[in-house]
Subunit: 416 residues, 2 copies
Amino acid sequence: MSQKNIAGYMCSLCKKVFDAGDELYTCPEDGGNLDVLLDYDEINSCCSPQTIMDSRESSLWRYLPLLPVSDPGGQDTPIHQAGFTPTYALDGLKKELGINNFWLKDESRNPTASFKDRASAVVVARALEIKADVVVTASTGNAGAALAGMSAAVGQKAVIFAPKTAPQAKIAQLLVFGARVILVDGNYDQAFDLTIEAAKEFGWYCRNTGFNPFTAEGKKTAAFEIWEQVIKPNKLNKPLSVFIPVGDGNIISGIHKGFKDLAALGWLDIFPRLFGVQTVGSAAIANAFFAGNETIIPVEASTIADSISVDLPRDGVRAVRAVTQTDGAYITVEDNDSLKAIAELGRFGVFAEPAGATAFAGFKKALKTGLVHGDDPILVLNTGSGLKDVRAAMQAVHEAPVIKPTLDALKTFLKG
Amino acid sequence: MSQKNIAGYMCSLCKKVFDAGDELYTCPEDGGNLDVLLDYDEINSCCSPQTIMDSRESSLWRYLPLLPVSDPGGQDTPIHQAGFTPTYALDGLKKELGINNFWLKDESRNPTASFKDRASAVVVARALEIKADVVVTASTGNAGAALAGMSAAVGQKAVIFAPKTAPQAKIAQLLVFGARVILVDGNYDQAFDLTIEAAKEFGWYCRNTGFNPFTAEGKKTAAFEIWEQVIKPNKLNKPLSVFIPVGDGNIISGIHKGFKDLAALGWLDIFPRLFGVQTVGSAAIANAFFAGNETIIPVEASTIADSISVDLPRDGVRAVRAVTQTDGAYITVEDNDSLKAIAELGRFGVFAEPAGATAFAGFKKALKTGLVHGDDPILVLNTGSGLKDVRAAMQAVHEAPVIKPTLDALKTFLKG
């Protein structure tokens, strides 16, 4: 079994280190999320920031030397389109908000139109390495679509368990990608548990978010891109404040891991501040932060931002630490603020999913409440495309008027 | 008024040449579509295939020397993400079909998820050059979303007229991008005519597809990419057969123009064969081809592939010539073939809109009927994302089963 770059796994709770040879998910002792340990000296002996920046690979695979997997192949397929998403500097928005340094990283530009392609691409690479017959995941939408799409690209078999209440649009995407889709008469948590049982029973490789340590390894590539696209070229002399929508906590902990890797390599001068944004209806992790501890108490989540609607976060502790260890904070916003933010970003050409818009709404609140200031460098992460949830988008805008198809009718309307 | 690179306009019907200084749409004499004439000597004096290929610009703006507009600015916005889409070599698909050289160009990777971003990006650049206050277009979906998105990126005002029957998802996208959307109680053709009247009345710049000569100038950039990504690196010694979905005819005539530009520059050794694919329910241009003439007779279009559902094609004559002048052909397929093709492409990680899948269905028919052969190099153009029409996608796949969330239920199901 190939173990490229893996020096071991460390439990985020008990700090126990496990051998790289074991195929582990969470800590066998206490169920804590595992961090993949890398050999930073070895990485530094083979590459430098410059070799990365000189890469002609326009996907997350440009960071292959910093990843614990080998290239999955499929150079001319969608798996080599995952990541290396654009980072926009929207001048009009900066003017409106009276801020000088603002970037929006647009993950809707991933091949299946969400951030989840990063985790799925790396997990599929791992599955190929360990010659897994089947990769399986529980999902309510984006993660499953990403696994189905990345698997299809390289001919990997995939099984997706989703609650039968998942939106038809998201189920359609799973089915089109040829994954075996099994809907369960239950909620996401039940699908999650069944997936783990099924993986054990049938010897399938389980991608479940947070449960599989390689999801964070995929997600950390967004930190590498923020470093390469924003921090380095702009020679920032203040920490970059990064606003991230948070559901199960795996995106923010993955991005935290990415910056920690860069710092350990000696490639990062000023560590960014990470800000997690949740909606008030799905705030299990923010609640722990506000209570000043790491105790994640499940909630009955209800929010329009469906991709961050989570009862029981699967990566909560690391998600709290991602902000406490970086001088960041958690922020909660109302669903209405998220809807408004869809239209605010849209006016500058970015069609965000509700979760992505939530991050922007959180930034605006942080600016208002003084958590960040107008001269702080800011980056907001839009995690997916609004096309995946047009129902929410319709709530974010006013209905269009209807007129008769004549110039007279138009003139009357425009005067009105 | 800037007239970068424009040597004039030539009517595709009467061949009359008009001065570059005039702001023209169609031919004032006979209403024929106008070709933008370029000064090829001047282009060759400033650049070569190598200077293009050395460009670090990862968008259609890498072809700026071959375009009749200046850079619109907005370097760090979605307008500099339009074009330079990936071209996939899907090995699994090649094996299944028993063909050696097959590429799929994936236009769903454009910022608003369709091919139309190319036309809109170039028209918006033109609008900025001529200092147009407002750009207006008629649209049933993709073209409007593209104009709204590209306009939003650079702060250009946009007005979109759409039939009130347009899908809600597409209207949502227009509204989110902040365009002024006016629905008309009529069909697309009535919206089209009203747009032209309104543009004249209010001094707005009209983007209407085919009517505005710059839409084809934007669309031709796909030909440049096919040349740079497939024809040149693979040193093809046979003509590449390119399969293109056809509605109003402007995409195929734009791509034809691109290859003609390359040939005129002396940069293209073997001219590709262009194949237009229509569904039988919207085949006005194919009908003219089958009749052996250029007389476009309107139809009452009815097809599941809504972005190529057209009663009265606005660029029909040039679309017929795009195949007759390149040893290509028109092919018609049933809606059912298009639906099947959505699932066939999906299994390799590409989620196509029905129109894009139609092109693939047309290629398969051409292979079966001997129009092309297994050893011919083939490229199929997917024009947009399936996320824009999940209703169609759901018809392309089987429904997913529902089980109780228990291992026993799963085992019973898997045995069944």
